[in-house]
Every structure is written in structure tokens, then in C-alpha cells.
Amino acid sequence: MLKREVAKRVFAREFEACRELEKSERPDSEATDSKTPNLLISPLGLILNRVFVVGVVTELDNIGTQSEMWKARIVDPTGAFTVYAGQYQPEALIFFSTVQVPSFIALTGKARTYEPEPGSVFVSIRAEEVNVVDEEIRNRWIVDTAEQTVERLEAFSDALASGYHGEELREYLLGRGISSELTEGIAIALQREYSRGEFAKILRTSIREGLKTLDLDSENSTSAKADQKEFVLELLKEMGGSKGVDYAAFIDSAASRGIPEQVVEEVIHALLAGGQCYEPKIGIIRLVG
């Protein structure tokens, strides 16, 4: 009996850097029959098939010609996931044909790669189940994903610093309490021609910035800044509604109510990074939901 694949938590930045894991590279040789799932491996050694993602859906296109096929972009603090739903995912298909853009959504799906020519690889998700969720769930997902990614980053850096290879490396990592799956993944990732430490560094920075946008929210809610932020948000709702507002006009009108430009910029930037508002066109700000 095949066990259900675990839905991995991964940020878009790490996900899009994933590459296919060849069958010959797989740890357990007994599982190489036709039923084994497609596996991908990230530069940090995360082996994945199913993912669970929570983010903001910012773009939706029906790209199907003969039958319906929806393509969606789901944004997290580090980048964007590309998601497809076609005739074999009827529930996800109906969902994407009715969902409002933008909104917070939670999605499980299977990772896919497409390589039209050597060297250019597109990594996407084939949707399984999708639902609209609230911001609270999105924030929790970011923190969960950050925790699991940081754990991976630490194990990876540890492996890199140890200088071990192959069997020695496996023993070393298992001895440090790293799961056998991640140990295998890291061993394979280190054998591949990846940028090694570089990617880890970029991801680290990216996660830190993503978290700070969340941190900013919780910090502000207790300080006086929170009031100003509330006010800016209210003003944004009042002026733009769901249509959006011209950024320059918004700054002027905020200034006329005693809010300095710098504060407005700060708030808008935090909102943008936090996915609560977005720019449908350059210079236009629109609230999510």
C-alpha cells in the first residue's frame, strides 16, 4: 500500500530552485517501480512531491484552448508559485474560475517540472485542493514554513561546514538527529552542481525580510505607530475601496490629515510585503479582500 505523500512546507524561492530527482539517485532502490511518485529536490536537500502553500493569489488566467486550464500565481514573502489546474483537477478548476483576485488561499498540490530546452526549467504545482482562508492562517503558514526551512538551512550549513561526503556525511547527520530523508536529500544536493552556500545565504535573507514584515505588524499593534497605521489603512479603504487609489494622490491626502509621507510609505510598504495590498498597475494601490 502506498502511503500518502507528506505535504511539504516550502517557500517559493526554494521551490522554484527545485530540480527533478532522478530515479537512480533515490535512496531506496526497492521503490523504483512505476508507482513511485515524481520527486523533486531543492538545493538544500528537501525532497518533495506534495506541497501545502498559503499565499495571495494575484493573477489568474484561463490558458486552456480546447478544455479549460487555469494558471494562477500565488505569492509568498519570498516569491511566487505557479499553479495549474486542468480538466483532471475539476474541483480546483471550479475554484479558480470563481475565486476573487486577490485573496488569501491555501492549496495542496503536486510539484511538477517542465524543461522546454536544456537549462531552462519551470517548476510548478498541479493543484489538488484549494480553499479561501484568512490572513491569520497565512501568517501561521509563513512562520511554520520559516521554522522548517530554518531547520533545513541549519542542517545544510552544518553538513557543508563538516566537509564530509557520502557515507561519512550520512552517518554524521544521522548522528546529529537529522531525519533520514533530509540526510539523504542533503547528501544528494551536495553532490549536485549547485551554488551550494550561495543559495542558502539568499534564502536566509529572503526569509528574514519576510518575517520582519510580519513582526512589524505585531510590534505596531502595541505602539502609537499602530494608530497611524490603522488610520492609513482606513483612509486607503475610504479613498480606494476595492478599485484602488492613485499613490501620489493618496500621499497628498494623508499629508493633509497630518500624516508624514515617510509613515505612509512605511505602512504601504509593509502592507505590500505582507500581501494585504498590491499594485495592479504602477502607482495604483489596491487593498486585498
Binding site: 485542493e129 513582526d215 512605511e266 510598504h269
Partner: protein
Amino acid sequence: MDEKIAPHLEELTRALGDLEKTGIRAEFEKLIAFRVPPDIAKESILRKFGEKKRILKVKDLSANLKNFEFTGRILDLGEKSIRSQAEAQEKPSRLYTGVLADETGSVQFSSWKELPGSIGDVINVKNAYVRIWQNRIRLSIGEQSLVSKISDSLLPSLSELSASQKKKLIDIRAADFSVDTVACILQLSYREVLVKGRQSRVISGVLADETGRLPFTSWIELDGIDIGSIIRIDGAQVRIFRGMPSVNILSSTKVSSVGPEEAEKLAFTFESVAKDPVPIKIEEIDSRDSMFDVSVAGNLVSVRPGSGIISRCPECSRVIQKGNCRVHGKVEGIWDMRIKAVLDDGTGSMSVTFPRELAETIYGKTLEEAEQLMFSDVSKDAVYEDIKRFLTGRYLAIRGNSSKSEFGISFVAESAWLPEEDIAVRIVELLRRLGSDEEDGSDKSSQVSRGGIELA
């Protein structure tokens, strides 16, 4: 013909060892006699006997394992003749039973072959399997098992192994034949049951120490022992109850109270073990056959078909389809509600069943409200669809018991709640772990204004 199959036999011998003794050759030849092509026959033999060569210890034994190798010292050995009714005329088969032990525990066994050793000897069994017999795990040695005596073994001596082993609750496995432990009584209740036609009182409850909790049943009176007592149990049996190891206190078991001075040296107190269990990762649950009273938090990534309003037989409570019970035929069903969903925390996934009371809480609709929805909608799946819309993707923390089968982990929830709001604390911790990076301005406001300028 022989020339054709010779290379296959050679390959099989390389992979599986001696074919003659284990009867594998006979099995292979039987397939050939049925005109199965030799290479296909070889493959199926390899699938049946080959797998990976597994050498297991007592602690690794669980239900339905087969094809493994085991080495143990014989602690006890007896012999029975068994005559089945059908072959009453024939010579009775002999069944050898007893106890085998290694350094991780002791297990009951039964063998259809005479063993090449007696009490105190160490034997090695290839191609052993496990059966459940009277709710206990039993190592079975069958016709196709290969048993050999090992004269010089590193296993502990007979006297060391005979003294039953002191274990923490987390180390008690379904295979354990006899265990000693020290634990605190967390729950206790009495019930009357009929045992061999006699009314007797059994005590059931929950034991706990710093490593975990386990259910227990006592068939004897426990004088002066109540909730909160810390007791020492010597020579308890382990049985499987609802897929979970359960400690059984019998007349042969010694139970004594642990005095206050000794209790101080223990790593737990009643207060410390009585606290609600801290959520653990699904990865950890996946590493064990079963876990009793644990809590987990994750996302409901999928609500499974069969969730929603179901109809049960009034006689036996089985779920019925179209008013027909499998056992009782046409019946007037009773409405009930349940939710089956997959909970996933990124380290593992498990199938969780929420009985009606919990289903109503997490779905936010009572059975009556759901019935209204069902009758007002044309689709028979209206309630299922509604539950999916409401729950998919949500966070939930649950507490209950897990057990593992070939279909993965199943978890029966006994309570469910929204995980605590602890995001701010976790973010601070994460930022600390990520450390500050030299190239990137650590000052928050400078970053923001950088972005701000781009924007304007």
C-alpha cells in the same frame, strides 16, 4: 529444461541462500510445473522471499511483519499436540511454544518445527513472521523458516534475560512478554465483567511517567492505590488493546507503592505527568506503531469522502448504505455526523477521525443544522461539500490516540482546539536563529524606505 532454469536457481541461491532447506526450490519448481516462464517465476519468488534482508530485535516486532531474521535466547519451551477436527485420524501436529529474549525484551513464540536447542540456548531464525494470538504478539516459526543454533552468542546470559526488564513507558512495545516499570496512576475506574462465568471486578486506567502514557488493566485488587499513587509493577503482561500496547496486571504481577523518599528520586511527579501533553511532530508519531494520548497541531489539508452525515444501523452502529446493514439487512438508520480528514504538519500526514461531538465543534454546525442543509439541497453531498469549504487548509490542534497500519497513521481525536496564538514569540526566535547578515541593513526602517522610494 534444467539448463534453462539453472542460471535462475543460481541467482536465487545468491540472493536467498540455501534453497533446498527452506523449500524455496520446491516452490520455484512448482511454478515451473505450471508453465510459468522461469524469469517471471524467479521474480515472484524474489518478491515473496527476498525483500530486504531484515534483522529485527524484540523491540521492532509489530503486527503482520513477515520475512525477517531474529536471534534470541530460549527462556521457556513447551510442547503441545494439536489435532484439528478434520484430520482427527491423522497423527497430531506438534506445536512448540515458549519465550525468546534478546537485550531489548522478550517475546512469546510458537514453532511448527522442533527447535535445534533447549532452554538457555541461542537460536537464529530466518524467515520468521509475526501473528497476533489472543491479543498478544507472537513470533511464529513456520515450515519455511530456517532455524539454527548459535553456540557462541553475545546475547546476555539466561539469568540476566530471565529477570524481566525495567522499562520506561515509552519503551514498552506490543511484543513485550513481561515488563517491570514504575509509573504514576493518572486515571482509575472500576467495572464488572464476566470472566469464565464468574462476576469479577477489573480496574482500568492510565499510567504515566516522564516519557509518556499507557492504558492499563488490573485483574486483581489494588489495595491502597488510587489516582496520584506512584507504583512499582513487576512482571506485568503486555496485551494489544485497540491497536495499542496495554499493561496487564495479573495475579502473578507484583504491585507495590513507591515511598515518598524514593519518589523524590524519580524524574516525574503526579503534577508533572498530569499536565496536558505537549504537541509533538507527526514525524515522531510515524516512527512508532501506536501512541497513546498525544497531541498534534497541523493543517487539515484534505477532508475525505465519507465525512458529513452518515446513517448507522440501530443494532450494531455500523455505517449503512441505502438503509441496508451488512449484518441486519433492511433497517431504519440513525443519523450521525463525523469528519474524516488528513492532518499534515509538513513532517508527516495522518488520517484523523472526528466523532460527532468534535465534528460539530470544528465544523460549527450541529447535526440538526447539517440535516437541514442536506434536505434543502439537491446534491446528496451538500454537507460534505460545505465541510470541505469550511475546513480545508485550516489549522487545528488535536489530542487522542494514534495507530499505524499499512494505510498510514490513523488518529482518533478526543479533543480539538485552535492552536495557541504564539506567532510573535516564534518570529523573534526565528530571527535570532537566522542571525543578522552583514550585507543587509539590519535597521528595519532603512529597508522600508528603500522600498518606498522604488515605489514612488
